[in-house]
Point group: C2
Chain length 365, copies 2
């Protein structure tokens, strides 16, 4: 068995401890004689898996009691539609902040449902290399919510402060920064995340929503599929139908792993340390450039390039020979991207930096 | 490691060969140095996984070229909404055949979108213990489609012949009989199945749809989420966003396993043999009764009861001590249910029958 350092933006690296446990249990989970993949979602062992997962997540994030935790099938893209379908219960109007590809997609999806959604701040003018000032946004009295993508996977930026929403519920897509650091849940109306970047196997989104924002079917303004209504999940403990049991099981193990290393404070410390190693390397490099405004730099996704697409391609190819994979940047921006999520060990980042230094020496211009 | 005989209706038993391979590969898939759970859905290894899965499924089912194969997140319940959203592109009108809980739910979901859906045949009068005659249904010229749930997991019935739809596209939920026997795909407009009963881990539906039934966004009559539009999947090879990679990977292994044993003809032979063993036992029993009309009996889900709820509970409890689990009937009907899907070995059914005979002797009345 060989393992490499996997810098994929998602699906992404998982803790080896978690994979090891899953491997041991794959035929016979907790003396049940069956795999979690084969287990009725109405069985006692699975009930414990999902209950523990929610409990551990609540503990990790200090989720207030008036917030619901939902495990929904589909990824963040499905929630791009669920957000307007569930939250446009008053005026079918909402304010979006455009900081990259996924906030743009979420905005376009909302437009399927209403022509009264608008972008109230954007960093498109400088190709999404910064987070716009969100201290005094043109929020309207009729806005049902304000929407952000908190960490921008493709562009390597992140909100260091959340926007001033002037009292409106803040909806945050935290797909690529979920559980990377402590957050104050009560600052948000809704936090949601596709799990495949920082938490578990693809095919699920976790939604943390303030109870009063979860509306009954009759209150919704659009014909809404049962499985896109958040109420369906909150009423049933996410067991209205068969959920993505395997993903819930692995996510639960990841929650326990984060608890075991010391919770989100420790997680943040480790993530910031890893990011600093990489950004220090970039800041002292004469070959590689991170084009992101320093105050907006993500600690999860670090983008860089040489400015020469051929040299970038050479870097990506040679990296592979050094056990460093999925380091290629997204096709929209080119260059390289190192996604250094929770489960990426410090050794992986050090290994990458060593290779960058070696590559720079060999390719000095 | 112990293994038991798992008669769960879903999630359900998987082939041990498949679990074994998954276990071996969980840290390092095909010399990539990472798990499939950690693998970019845009990577070459995953591209091969999803391409092979579709290819093997097409081969197994002899799917005609003008039918698309889609791997969609969410289960059958999500498709209950996707069906009307995608197919009511003409008259917002459809005909449903009610043969149990899930066809009823699909009908109720369609009513969210149109008041012109109606039930054209039902077996509710005798508690869904048979499949109604569907040779001359009151299909209307304006019906966009005719809908069935082909195998009724809870009630243990199945369509032996598909309805005469008078030229309208037939939509069939095959969740609990998918790949259990050969079917003539071109008899259907759309076949779909939540995978967690006969194919793989929960959290995905496979949709096989005739190309002309997959409409562009502009042709749809409702504001439809991108991830519920079948066109999104058919245009992108099910890779518009991150799919349920793990489920696709395991389903792909199950397809290969079915091929390895001889394809769907052999699968049907084995399934019918297993079902016969169980029905023969029931038909000669003086204690257990299968209340289903013989011509409608499912070869996937076999329901039975003693008529005495206390004795049923005793049976379920004692079965567990004999390595037979998840044999309890659905709460709607009570009694027992043995789901004997593709991956249930004949030995499991024999083991169950031996225990039933023993129990009958010990509890003769």
């Amino acid at each position: 068995m060989k393992r490499v350092y996997n810098f994929s933006a998602g699906p992404a690296v998982l803790p080896e401890e978690v994979l090891k446990e899953a491997q041991e249990e794959i035929f016979d989970y907790a003396d049940t004689g069956i795999s979690v993949m084969e287990m009725s979602h109405r069985s006692k062992p699975f009930e414990k898996i999902i209950t523990d997962a929610e409990k551990d997540l609540r503990e990790l994030m200090s989720i207030p009691d008036d917030y619901k935790v939902l495990f929904a099938q589909g990824g963040a893209t499905t929630q791009f539609a669920a957000v307007p379908m569930n939250l446009m219960s008053e005026n079918k109007q909402a304010a979006y902040i455009e900081t990259g590809n996924f906030s743009k997609k979420a905005f376009e999806e909302a437009k399927i449902f209403s022509d009264k959604v608008r972008i109230v701040a954007s960093s498109k003018d400088r190709n999404y290399t910064y987070i716009p000032d969100c201290s005094d946004l043109p929020i309207d009295e009729k806005d049902d919510y304000v929407y952000i993508c908190e960490n921008n996977t493709i562009f390597g930026t992140t909100f260091k402060n959340i926007p001033n929403t002037k009292g409106k519920p803040l909806v945050s897509d935290q797909s690529s920064c979920f559980l990377s650091k402590p957050v104050n849940v009560s600052d948000y109306g809704v936090i949601y995340a596709g799990v495949q970047k920082n938490v578990g196997p693809a095919g699920m989104a976790i939604i943390i929503a303030r109870g009063d924002l979860i509306k009954d079917a009759e209150e919704l303004q659009f014909p809404t599929p049962t499985m896109l209504r958040w109420k369906t999940y909150s009423d049933s403990g996410s067991l209205y139908n068969t959920p993505n049991c395997w993903s819930i099981y692995i996510c639960g193990k990841v929650f326990k792993w984060i608890k075991s290393i010391g919770g989100l404070e420790e997680m943040q410390k480790r993530n910031e340390e890893k990011a600093k190693i990489l950004y220090d390397c970039l800041d002292s490099s004469k070959l590689f450039v991170n084009g992101v405004e320093k105050s907006s730099r993500s600690i999860m996704n670090v983008v860089f390039k040489t400015g020469d697409p051929e040299l970038d391609a050479k870097f990506v190819a040679e990296a592979k020979d050094h056990g460093i994979i999925s380091i290629k940047g997204h096709r929209i921006v080119g260059g390289m991207r190192a996604s250094i999520y929770n489960a990426m060990p410090k050794e992986g980042v050090i290994s990458l930096v060593r290779f960058m230094e070696k590559f720079e020496k060999e390719n000095a211009r």
